[in-house]
Amino acid sequence: MAAAKKVFGAAEASDLVNELRRSFDDGVTRGYDWRITQLKKLLVICDNHEHEIVEALRDDLGKPELESSVFEVALLRNSCKLALKQLKNWMAPDKAKTSLTTFPASAEIVSEPLGVVLVISAWNYPFLLSIDPVIGAISAGNAVVLKPSELAPASSALLAKLLEQYLDPSAVRVVEGNVNETTLLLDQKWDKIFYTGSSKIGRVIMTAAAKHLTPVVLELGGKSPVVVDSNTDLKVTVRRIIAGKWGCNNGQACVSPDYILTTKEFAPKLIDAMKHELETFYGKKPMDSKDMSRIVNSNHFDRLSKLLEEKEVSDKIVYGGDKDRENLKIAPTILLDVPLDSLIMSEEIFGPLLPIITLNNLEESFDVIHSRPKPLAAYLFTHNQKLKERFAMTVSAGGIVVNDIAVHLALHTLPFGGVGESGMGAYHGKFSFDAFSHKKAVLYRSLFGDAPVRYPPYSRGKLRLLKALVDSNIFNIFKVLLGLS
């Protein structure tokens, strides 16, 4: 007996938000205990349902078990554990220093939940990118609606099932669907919207948010460049690039190494090393390897094919290039010196294609990167200390990683987010808690000790005293009070 799919229209969207708002106003989500309970349940999901999650990811993306276990479940497990351990600290107010002008007073900054928030997730790491922000939302005490991506349908269905089964439905809900459901959700008034996806849709989200003055976090993408200096450990460099590119959802990740910049002189060595390691990792027939995700769907397959087929690009393939549309597979492909204005060098690749652009000297890489929209990540492989410093200081990106790829994702002590086209806001660790909180300033003043200088009628003397107070210079204040100034 087929269950009728519940209709989700404008009325349902509005009812949903109203219901969650009532729960929030009733204080359901504010208490420490409620938040801890939800976080513990999320941990149980990670512990007890890993197998189903791995299966769903295999269905949706052909993701290898290790990637699912590590880059989705393990990261989430750690995120839950961290929140469980730190929540008391995070929730505690911060004391703030008061000055002579506000003396006597004490001040603090109190973290309070924003209210009812919307998390819109992506298809490439459907569990990680759904639950990690939800962990942030819940730890900060909000009610939350999650809209997973319909492009990963098995994951979306499993998320809906698990969250419904384990979490408090009066405050945490999942809405499945496509652009229609998303649009209906975006018409509602939210207290925060957290979106992971493309820059194009990021604009749509922010425009919708503007109608209600809803603050947003946009985790977008971009072309994350990898600069490779000849002065590096070639084998380690190449292994990390390969693992970071094809070993992370087959290049379909927001921080995927998009293209390489290196010198003309070094490129042949680099390419040879890459070919060698690629074979070590994926064998002589990479299309048969079970250690890479497939392309998510035929739309993206066709998009990537088009990138390869462009004139002046197709003849630059130096490795790979095989495609299998039926099985949605494209072999790890390396291209050498495609034109800088080609399609493959203009949009985020998000797939297993890796252009290598050669330069006369490594200096030029700064100009190349600078002339493009700011990416989510920028990578550099080198032993050269000066180059590392210059890169870190002058390349603007969400995050910079030297001598590795993508690992900064796993570090809860570093904020993860973009800048410019790659996004706004950040999360992970305490930054997630902060992203979903309002930091309310609280000033406690005493009713004693009032300076008449504050009030009309105004006079010269009052002006002098005010000036001295502003200087917060105790001598000046005394001088004025004693009539010596």
């Binding site: 032993h383 690992v407 009309p456 917060s472």
Partner: protein, 486 residues
């Protein structure tokens, strides 16, 4: 307009080139510019007081207290603290990643736009400017056309003191703002109304430009009479000074309305009346201590709020309006209907509704029924009430037993939530407001773990699982072959 479009494009080009040159990254340059702002204000105190008097009828003491003094202090704090603020923050990384290092550096966004307001035209222009410069950006300031003399002063004087290839001023109204908003900025900082805030954010969305919106709202003031009756004189002074003594109620953090238990309302009113007279004399229009309403349109707006017959009937003090002289008398209302216009939009003027409640606890419900304001004020010594206010209401800030003064505390973030705004500034928050927090991680090429790389097998899976859960001992056993891979 064509000429204006070209000016904007030219300015943008120049500011972007200046930013690209790296000049603004130098801390010395930033401090020099901020010091120049300090000098500019100090050198021109009299002129500044004069323009503020021309635009808003502000007394020089009010001008200094609310604007000039604030800017001087802001500049001093920025110069003294910039070195500290600009230091990268080291991050502790888990043992698994040893010997990797992590830190966060604050980098300027690039070329930013500051859109200022008319009520505190000097401080609301220069304070964000100080933040933008401290963070190392190039910046274009558009001052408000509703305070033309202040705007003209800034447009003429800033170029004389500051690096005018990096910091520019443009004058004009909505048409200029529209042109500016068509361009891509790296950050937009806006002070003004929620209505315009929405327009700004929608325009910013086209370019994925992050925004800080300092908006407004109806800032309520709870007076829990019985618990503060011993100090009622201070309370009344603070409310009176806060409401009418600062730009005649035209401030985003102005006391908008008072909430008090019914039985104490008349005592409060009986104390407010003589105090208003003592502050502003029998003819406040002539006192020189009360700011003017900024424009005829705003006088008409306030007039309209009072014209509602039910509101008229609630006037217990004041109520007279002189549109020609941009004057609205300090006015007190007692219980205008909660559904009247004056109780549903930000008043931004010298009219003070007093709303009575049966029990002071009921004031929380009233506050919650309205949009989140920029500030909530509460005069009370009841710890229970304080706790309820903090946990059940939401606002940019809460100040107990005073009004307005949170603005001067630069250790506190100043900003709104919901309808009252997005983002915050003041003190270090200004520096952060105009900075991108960039994470930097450096791994070591020396230590490499086989388990990181395909082809995958159960050993590698176990290894990584254990590593992630930081079960280092079990990891060691696995590596020594003393633990089975699962």
């Amino acid at each position: 307009m064509e000429a204006m479009k070209e000016t904007v494009e030219e300015s943008l080009r120049e500011m972007r080139d200046t930013f690209a040159s790296g000049r603004t990254r130098s801390l010395k340059w930033r401090k020099r510019q901020i010091a120049a702002i300090y000098e500019m204000v100090k050198d021109n105190e009299d002129k500044l007081c004069s323009v503020l008097f021309q635009d808003l009828g502000k007394h020089s003491t009010e001008a200094f207290r609310d604007e000039l003094g604030h800017v001087l202090r802001s500049a001093t704090v920025a110069i003294n603290c910039l070195d500290k603020w600009a230091v990268p923050k080291q991050s502790n990384l888990p043992l698994l990643f040893f010997p990797a290092k992590g830190k966060v550096i604050s980098e300027p966004y690039g070329t930013v736009l500051v859109l200022s307001s008319w009520n505190f035209p000097i401080s609301l222009s220069l304070d964000p400017l100080i933040g933008a410069i401290a963070a190392g950006n190039t910046v274009l300031l558009k001052s408000s056309e509703l305070s033309p003399n202040a705007s003209a002063f800034l447009a003429k004087t800033i170029p004389a003191y500051l690096d005018n290839k990096a910091i520019k001023v443009i004058e004009g109204g909505p048409d200029v703002a529209t042109i500016l908003l068509q361009h891509q900025w790296d950050k937009i900082f806006f002070t003004g109304s929620p209505k315009i805030g929405r327009i700004i954010m929608a325009a910013a969305a086209q370019h994925l430009t992050p925004v800080t919106l300092e908006l407004g709202g109806k800032c309520p003031t709870i007076v829990d009479y019985p618990t503060i009756s011993k100090n009622i004189k201070s309370v009344v002074k603070r409310i009176t000074g806060g409401k009418w003594g600062s730009c005649s109620g035209q401030a985003c953090i102005s006391v908008d309305y008072v909430l008090i238990e019914k039985s104490f309302a008349s005592s409060l009113i009986d104390m407010l009346k003589p105090l208003i007279r003592s502050f502003f004399g029998d003819n406040p229009k002539e006192s020189g201590c009360l700011s003017r309403i900024v424009s005829k349109q705003h006088v008409q707006r306030l007039s309209r709020l009072l014209n509602d017959p039910r509101v008229q009937a609630s006037i217990v003090y004041g109520g007279s309006i002189d549109e020609e002289n941009l004057y609205v008398e300090p006015t007190i209302l007692l219980d205008p209907p909660l559904d009247s216009e004056i109780m549903n939009e930000e008043i931004f003027g010298p009219i003070l509704p007093i709303i009575t409640v049966r029990d002071i606890q009921d004031s929380i419900g009233i506050i919650k029924s309205k949009a989140k304001p920029l500030a909530i004020y509460a005069f009370t010594n009841d710890e229970n009430l304080k706790t309820r206010i903090l946990s059940e209401t939401s606002s940019g800030s809460v100040t107990f037993n005073d009004v307005m003064i949170q603005y001067m505390c630069d250790a506190l973030p100043f900003g709104g939530v919901g309808e009252s705004g997005i983002g915050r500034y003041h003190g270090k928050y200004s520096f952060d407001c105009f900075s991108h927090e960039k994470a930097i991680m450096e791994g070591s090429l020396a230590m490499d773990l086989e388990a990181r790389y395909p082809p995958w097998n159960s050993f590698k899976l176990s290894f990584i699982r254990l590593a992630f859960s930081e079960a280092y001992f079990k990891l060691l056993l696995l590596m020594l072959g003393l633990k089975r891979s699962t």
